[in-house]
Symmetry: C2
Subunit: 588 residues, 2 copies
C-alpha cells in the first residue's frame, strides 16, 4: 500500500509518462497487464486507446511519435503481445520513431518458480526468454524485478528513449505494479535533453563549419529524416530560411524544407532524382547534410555523389567535417549553435544568399485530362490535393515511389517508411498520427494513401479510427496486387497477386461508419481521370469532415518511374559487382 | 546453372518438401524471396497460397500442421516478414505444431558488405541479426551461406523438424536460390522417423509398464496433446480400444479419445473438471499419461493430483515409470511397442477390461429453450451440432473454456491453443486447416468458433478463405469485448472493450462472398435461443456448402463456469503462496 509519500509503481510510471505531455496510452490488454492498465485511470489526463492487435499498435505508436515529437507509449502483454509487436518496434528502431514499450509479465514469484504458465513455451522455462529476443530492436530496457531500483530504472529508460529516439522496453511483473515508490522523485522532472559530453568539441565543429560557410561559393543544405526524428525540424527550417542556401530533402524527409520557397531545390535521391537536382547538389562546394539516413532507397540505390571534401555530416551518432570525424557527437546541440551563430552575424556570412543558378524545374510528368488513371499523372495530382499543414501517410510500394513527384504545400508532415519498408505500416501509423494530431490540436487534415495489398495486411485498424471518431481521408490504390514486387520480379507470377474480391466500397460500412448509426460516410470508386477529378474537386470530400474513402483503380503493370529507375540502377550495380567478382576470381 | 545431375537450391528445397507429401506452400512474398518462390512453380504438384500477413500465415501453418500431421511450409521475407510471424511461430513451438519457416535474405555479397539495405536497421549492421532473435522459438536452423553444405543443411533441418515437431528455420540468401546442388541426393528419401538411441531402454520401459498393467486394479489412460502432435493419435485410440481402460482427455487433447465410447471417462483438468472425473482418475492405481503438456490451463491451474507411484509419464523428451526417469527417451517408439505387446497377448493382460465403477455422468448444464443465449447452454448445444469427422477450431477465451463442456461425436479434430493462448489464432489456423483438409480429402466440415475480440485481431484472413474457395462454418461469439479478461480482472474497465461498431453480418460480403459474384452466402445474427436453434437445425447451414456465418450475441458479463473456476483456483493458490511467503518472512 502506498503511504502519502509513496506512490505505487504503476502510477509512478504513468505519472512520468504524463509529464512528457502524453495523453493517450496505446496497446492491447492481456491478463499480465490488466492491473497495470488500471493505473492509467488513476492519472488525470491519461486515456487508454485499444488497438485491434499489437503489430498495428506498434505501427500506431510509431505514427504517434512522428507527429507528436515525443515517444508514444505502447502496452502489450507477455509473450503473445510483445512478440506480435516486434516488426513494428523494429521499424521504429530503424527509422528513429522510438516508443516506450511496456510489457506485462507474470508475478515475480511465478517467474522465479519458472511456472509453466500459458504464454510460456515449455516446462522450467526462463520467463525472461522473450526479453532477450527483443535486444536488437531497443536502445535499452528496464526489467522491474527489484523494488529498490524500480523508480530509477523507469527514469533511466524513459530518458534514454527521449535522447536516442529509439524504442525502449519496460518489463513489469504483475506484482510489481503495487510496489510503493518514493513519490518525491516525481517532483523533479526528467532531463531528457540531448547533450554531448564535451561542449568544446561542439564549438570546434561549429567554428569549422562557419569557416567553410564563409568560404563556400555554392553551399547547400541536404536535410534528412534523422534530423526530423531527433527534433531538428524547426532548426532545419530556420537554417534554410536564414541562409537561403539551395536546400534539398530526401525520399524520407520530403516536406521538411518548405517546397514553395525559392530556395527549395528538390528531392535528392542520387540518380533517381528529377533532372537537374543531382547535378545541382553534386556541384555544390559545401553540403550541410543534416540527420542523414543513407539507406538504399533513400539514396537512389547508393548513387549519391557528393565528394567528402564538400561534405559536412551532422548525424545522431557522429559528426564529420570534411575529413575530421567526431564520434559520439549528436548533431542537435551543434545545429542549435550553428543556427545561433549564423543568426547573430548574418552580414559576416553574407546571409541570406539567394542562389544564382536557376532552380531545377519540376517537370509535369503527365497532364492527363481523361481516360484510365496513370501512375505518371496521379501522384502530382494528389500533391495538388494537399493543403498546408496536412499530415500525409504514404504506404510502401507505388505510393511511396510516386509521391516524391508531387510538390507539397507548406508544412506538410509526411509519414512514410522508406527504410524499414514494412507494408501495411501506414494503416496502423495513421491511427497513431490521428491521436497525436488530436493531442496537439492539429488543424490540418490527415490523409492516408495505401495500396490494397498493404491495406489487406492491417485493415482492422480502420475500425479503430471509426471507434474513436477519427476521420482521415483515405485513398486506396487498387491495382491488383503487390505492384512493387511485380516491378522487381515476376510481374505475372501468382505470388504477387492478392485477393481481388474485397469490396473496398463496403469497408467503412463494415467497420462501423454506417448511415443507420447517424454517421455521415461516403465511399467512391474511381477508374478514370474524370471520376477522380470529380472527387478531388468535391469540397465535401476535401473537407475531411466525414468518414470517406476514395478508391483509385489503376493498371496492374503501371509503375511510377522512380520505382523502375531504382530497380534498374540496383540491377546495374549488382551486374557490375558480379562482373568484378568474376574478374577477380579469374585473376586469382 | 544446373546441369542434368544438378538441381538449383530453390528447387532442391521444394522437391524435398514435396517428398513429405506437402502440396501447398504458405506465405507472403517480399523482394528477398521472389526468385525462391519462382521455384515452387517448377515443382509439379506444389502450389503457392498467399496469406494477408505473416502472423496469420504462421497461424495458418500451425493449423495446417495440426491437421496434416506433417509440417507446413511458411515462406516470409527478410526482417519485416520473419519478425511479423514470430508470435505465430512461438505458438507452434509451445504447442508442438512445428513448421518449416523459410526466410528470404539479401544476396550473400550484400550481407558480407553489410549494405544498408531496406529492412536493415542501421549502417554497417550484421544482416544475420534477426536470425539470432528467433533462436528461442525454433529447434534448429540452416543459414545457407556455403554452397557446399546447402543440401545437407536443408536435409538436416527438415529431419529435425519432423522429429521434434517444433519449428525450424531455413534462411535463403537471394543468390543461393540458383546454386547448383547434387540432384542425386533427392533419390534417397529423408528418414524422418522418431528413433531413440537405445532400443533396450525402450524395451525396459515397456516391460516395466506391462508388469504394472498386469498388477493394476484400476488402470487409466490420460491422453494429452503432445501425444497427438507427435503422431501418436492412432496409437492412443488403439490403446484405449484394446484395453477399455477408463480414458481421459485434457483441455488441449479433447477429442483424442472417442467420446461416444463407454471407456471415455471425461476431460481431466484437475479441480476444474466435471464432478466425478478428478475423483475417478485420481483413484486409479495406474495412470498412463501419454504426451503430457502440464501447463496451468491444461491442468486446472496445477491442481492435478495423481500420485507419482501411480504415474507412467510418456513424454517427448523423457519417460518416467514411477520413480525411474529416462531422459531423452521419446514416447512414440515406446508406445508402439507397448500397444504391440498388449495386442499380442490380450489374455495375459486380461484385455479388454471394462471399467467396474460407473462412468462419471456429463451433467446437462442448462437446458435452455428460449430467451437470451447463455454460456451455460451454448457450448453443449454447439457440441450437439458437431458431426463425426468435423475439424473444430475453438478460439482462446470463453469458447476455449466453454467447449470442454460439450460431448464430441467420434473423430472430431480439435484445434485450440490453450497453452500459448494467443487470441486471433484460430482465424489464421482455420485457413491452414482448410488447406490441409483439402490435401487429405477430408470429408468432415471445418467449424470455426471465434469471439469478436479475437476476430478483430486477424479478421483479414477470412478474405483468404473466400479467395481460395474454402468454406468453413463460422460462429462469431459477440459479447462486447475481451470476456476472458473481464473475468480475470476489471470487468467494467474500458481496456476490456473492443469496437462494438463492426457489423459482422457484412463481413463475408466485404471480403468477397457476394451474391453479385454468383457466390452463395448467408450471414445470420442470433440473440435468442429460438433464433440460434433455428440456424443450428437448418440443414443448409449445417451442410457447410455455402459461405455462411452465425453470430451469437451473448451477455457481456456471462462467463463459462470453467473460466470462473480456473480463475478462482489460481487466485486461491496465489493467496496461499503469498501467505506462506509472509509467514516465511516473519520467521526470518
Amino acid at each position: 500500500m502506498a503511504s502519502p509519500s509513496t506512490i505505487c509503481m504503476g502510477q509512478y510510471l504513468f505519472q512520468r509518462i504524463k509529464q512528457l505531455g502524453t495523453e493517450h496510452i496505446l496497446g492491447v490488454p492481456g491478463d499480465f497487464n490488466l492491473t497495470l492498465l488500471d493505473e492509467i485511470y488513476n492519472v488525470s489526463g491519461l486515456k487508454w486507446i485499444g488497438c485491434c492487435n499489437e503489430l498495428n499498435g506498434a505501427y500506431a505508436a510509431d505514427g504517434y511519435t512522428r507527429i507528436k515529437g515525443t515517444p508514444a507509449v505502447l502496452v502489450t502483454t507477455y509473450a503473445v503481445g510483445e512478440l506480435s509487436a516486434m516488426n513494428g518496434v523494429a521499424g521504429a528502431y530503424a527509422e528513429h520513431a522510438g516508443m516506450i514499450h511496456v510489457v506485462g509479465m507474470p508475478a515475480r514469484s511465478l517467474q522465479k518458480a519458472r511456472a509453466m504458465l500459458h504464454h510460456t513455451m515449455k516446462s522450467n522455462m526462463d520467463h525472461a526468454i522473450y526479453i532477450q529476443m527483443a535486444e536488437p530492436i531497443r536502445e535499452t530496457h528496464a526489467y522491474l524485478m527489484e523494488d529498490k531500483t524500480m523508480a530509477e530504472e523507469i527514469d533511466r529508460t524513459i530518458i534514454a528513449c527521449l535522447r536516442s529516439r529509439l524504442p525502449v522496453y519496460i518489463y513489469v511483473p504483475v506484482d510489481a505494479v503495487s510496489v510503493p515508490l518514493d513519490a518525491k522523485r516525481l517532483e523533479t522532472p526528467l532531463d531528457t535533453s540531448v547533450q554531448n559530453k564535451d561542449s568544446k568539441i561542439e564549438d570546434h565543429i561549429v567554428s569549422s563549419i562557419l569557416s567553410l560557410v564563409e568560404k563556400a561559393e555554392s553551399p547547400a543544405i541536404l536535410a534528412d529524416v534523422i534530423g526530423v526524428r531527433h527534433g531538428g525540424r524547426e532548426l532545419i527550417r530556420k537554417l534554410a530560411e536564414l541562409t537561403h542556401f539551395p536546400s534539398y530533402s530526401t525520399p524520407l524527409s520530403k516536406g521538411v524544407v518548405d517546397e514553395t520557397k525559392p530556395y527549395y531545390n528538390g528531392l535528392y535521391n542520387g540518380k533517381v532524382s528529377f533532372p537537374g537536382v543531382a547535378d545541382s547538389i553534386e556541384a555544390s562546394d559545401l553540403v550541410l547534410n543534416i540527420g542523414p539516413l543513407p539507406s538504399d532507397s533513400n539514396t537512389g540505390g547508393f548513387t549519391r555523389e557528393i565528394k567528402d571534401e564538400h561534405l559536412v555530416w551532422l548525424g545522431h551518432d557522429f559528426c564529420k567535417v570534411q575529413d575530421q570525424t567526431f564520434d559520439g557527437v549528436h548533431f542537435l546541440p551543434v545545429l542549435k549553435k550553428l543556427v545561433a551563430a549564423l543568426e547573430a552575424e548574418p552580414k559576416k556570412f553574407k546571409l541570406p544568399r539567394p542562389q544564382k543558378a536557376p532552380r531545377p524545374d519540376v517537370p509535369l510528368l503527365l497532364d492527363q485530362k481523361s481516360g484510365k488513371i496513370k501512375q505518371a499523372y496521379v501522384w502530382q495530382r494528389l500533391g495538388r490535393f494537399l493543403r498546408e499543414n496536412d499530415i500525409l501517410l504514404v504506404e510502401s510500394g507505388t505510393a511511396q515511389f510516386g509521391m516524391p513527384d508531387a510538390t507539397f504545400p507548406p508544412n506538410v508532415k509526411l509519414i512514410t517508411q522508406t527504410f524499414w519498408s514494412s507494408i501495411g505500416f501506414t494503416v496502423g501509423a495513421c491511427f497513431g498520427a490521428l491521436i497525436a494530431a488530436k493531442e496537439i490540436n492539429h488543424t490540418g487534415r490527415v490523409v492516408l494513401i495505401v495500396g490494397e495489398g498493404s491495406l489487406q495486411m492491417t485493415v482492422q485498424e480502420i475500425g479503430s479510427y471509426i471507434r474513436y471518431g477519427l476521420k482521415p481521408i483515405i485513398f486506396v490504390i487498387n491495382n491488383n496486387g503487390y505492384a512493387i514486387e511485380r516491378a522487381i520480379h515476376g510481374p505475372e507470377q501468382g505470388y504477387n497477386d492478392v485477393s481481388t474480391m474485397w469490396d473496398y466500397q463496403k469497408m467503412l460500412e463494415f467497420f462501423g461508419a454506417r448511415q443507420e448509426l447517424g454517421i455521415k460516410t461516403k465511399s467512391r470508386a474511381t477508374k478514370t481521370v474524370e471520376e477522380l477529378e470529380a472527387v478531388l474537386n468535391d469540397e465535401e470530400f476535401a473537407s475531411g469532415d466525414n468518414y470517406q474513402l476514395c478508391e483509385i483503380v489503376m493498371d496492374t503493370f503501371d509503375y511510377p518511374w522512380r520505382l523502375s529507375e531504382q530497380i534498374s540502377v540496383t540491377r546495374e550495380k549488382m551486374r557490375r559487382a558480379a562482373a568484378q567478382q568474376t574478374a577477380a576470381t579469374g585473376e586469382a
